[in-house]
């Protein structure tokens, strides 16, 4: 079988499996989905409240609708990346803790691919709807988006999903050594907090770190700025940084996985 075809088949079978899994627990699944959607809207809700209580000035240089677009982009990117890439973290977490990771290594594919396919969470894509709804609503209030921004925006969105994938790789890789660290997602959440607000509120030093060292700003800020037609100077270095970050993530995963198998001797 051709490699692309076989990957596609792997993806479609995994997707099927994940839907069947969700369907097995119908009631709680729906409640869980609704609650997840509600959680999504907390930060935009807080933003609206902040703007309303400050006579709509809020963050300097940003209209409320623009901040909401930023947060919508965050939700969209997360809605794409989490169902695809973050199941990996929980698959590694459980299988390493229970000593079952060998089962993944027994498959004639890259362990990353096998773990990703086991972690695929199709129903999770529903959360994309929340982000899309927010984007359409805020963009509508602003009078729409420039058509020529859309293609660059989609490319940036791709990079954003890639950055989140890198985060998943670092998290999963760390679980080979810090076995059973269930609070690793809290660490990610606290880092991602910095991605949900306009970069201009942070000190310039911090903005540089968020663009070039751990490219958190690539997750939402830069794609949103491109969409709004107001990219800032840090976007270009941010692109380079997110690609480098991805390479580092892959390297980290391979290194940690190798250590687990005793490859270092």
């Amino acid at each position: 079988m051709g490699s692309a075809r076989s990957m596609l088949m792997l993806f479609s079978r995994a997707a099927r499996g994940s839907m069947a899994k969700a369907a097995a627990y119908r009631g709680d699944f729906i409640v869980g989905l609704v609650v997840a959607l509600l959680f999504e809207f907390l930060t935009p809700l807080a933003t609206i409240l902040i703007y309303r209580s400050s006579a709509m000035t809020g963050f300097p240089g940003w209209k409320m609708e623009e901040v909401l677009v930023l947060q919508a982009v965050f939700l969209i990117s997360r809605g794409i990346a989490f169902p695809l890439f973050f199941g990996l973290v929980w698959v590694v977490f459980e299988s390493v803790r229970e000593g079952r990771f060998e089962l993944i290594l027994l498959r004639p594919r890259s362990p990353l691919l096998v773990a990703l396919s086991q972690g695929l969470d199709m129903p999770g894509f529903v959360r994309l709807l929340g982000g899309l709804a927010l984007l359409l609503w805020s963009a509508g209030r602003m009078g729409g988006i420039q058509a020529r921004s859309i293609l660059p925006f989609l490319l940036m969105l791709g990079l954003s999903a890639l950055t989140l994938f890198s985060c998943a790789l670092f998290m999963a890789g760390s679980l080979f050594v810090w076995v059973g660290n269930s609070r690793v997602s809290e660490l990610l959440d606290s880092i991602l907090l910095f991605a949900q607000y306009p970069g201009s509120i942070f000190s310039s030093g911090l903005q540089l770190v968020l663009a070039a060292v751990v490219p958190v700003s690539m997750v939402a800020l830069f794609p949103a700025e491109v969409l709004l037609g107001r990219p800032d100077a840090l976007v270009l270095p941010g692109i380079g940084a997110s690609l480098a970050f991805f390479a580092l993530g892959l390297g980290f995963w391979n290194f940690m996985r190798g250590k687990y198998a005793g490859a270092g001797g």
Partner: protein, 244 residues
């Protein structure tokens, strides 16, 4: 616990930048000055370390896995056991979460968080400790009826955090919503002790003195204790009826 030292201050750091930006063009937001706003979040964060628990997750885990049976066989009230567990955990939390973060706030952000009145402040925190426990425990009791409680627990946590003022101070909510929150139990677990710490209680246009609000808080805890007791009895009837 190491996580908490990173996560707590990270959350606060973001709030710090948010409010510095918002206050660039004004000096008051919903009646708070910048210093008061930052104090609000700082106080919220560290009081959470003194009052939080996982009683909901623990109880439902015991019920689901069947290990709850061991408790039924012992002459011990599970609620008492769980509460004692919380006391133990929070004692550790005081040392390894509260203190380091308090010091970080004092040194890095130059916010020294001390209660306006030590007596009322500590009393309010103790009551909030109980209230948080009772709220979480009650949700855990639902495991007697529901196969999976993940969804309900998340929903509960959502309401609890938002309506307790962890997201934004309740003063920023529209007035009608503030009225609703006033009559819900959630505020007594987080919002009230934070306000008492800071010296004055304000919600929905109502201002109350410290003794008054702490008194109401105590009454609320008593009422919640009753609710938990009723839920518990009903749950146990169902549990033993189904057959162990």
């Amino acid at each position: 616990m190491l996580m908490t030292i990173v996560v707590g201050p990270a959350f606060f750091l973001v709030q710090y930048f948010i409010w510095k930006a918002v206050y660039a063009s004004r000096s008051l937001v919903a009646g708070f000055s910048l210093d008061q706003m930052l104090r609000y979040y700082g106080t919220s964060t560290i009081i959470y370390y003194l009052t939080m628990d996982f009683a909901d997750w623990n109880l439902q885990m015991h019920i689901r896995s069947g290990s709850f049976l061991a408790f039924m066989l012992r002459p011990l009230s599970h609620r008492f056991y769980a509460l004692s567990q919380k006391v133990g955990h929070r004692a550790l939390g005081f040392l390894f979460e509260f203190l380091p973060v308090w010091i970080m706030f004092a040194l890095l952000f130059r916010i020294v968080i001390l209660p306006a009145s030590w007596a009322w402040g500590l009393l309010s925190i103790a009551l909030a400790f109980l209230m948080m426990f009772l709220l979480n425990y009650s949700v855990g009791i639902l495991a007697f009826w529901l196969v999976r409680t993940d969804g309900i627990r998340s929903l509960f946590r959502l309401f609890r955090d938002v309506l307790a003022g962890s997201l934004v101070p309740l003063g920023l909510f529209p007035l009608p919503l503030q009225w609703v929150v006033f009559f819900l139990p959630f505020q007594f677990a987080t919002y009230v002790p934070v306000q008492v710490f800071m010296g004055g209680y304000r919600l929905a246009g109502i201002s109350l003195s410290l003794p008054a609000i702490v008194g109401i808080q105590a009454a609320a805890v008593l009422a919640m204790w009753g609710v938990t007791e009723l839920l518990w009895r009903s749950g146990i009837r169902r549990y033993t009826g189904v057959g162990a």
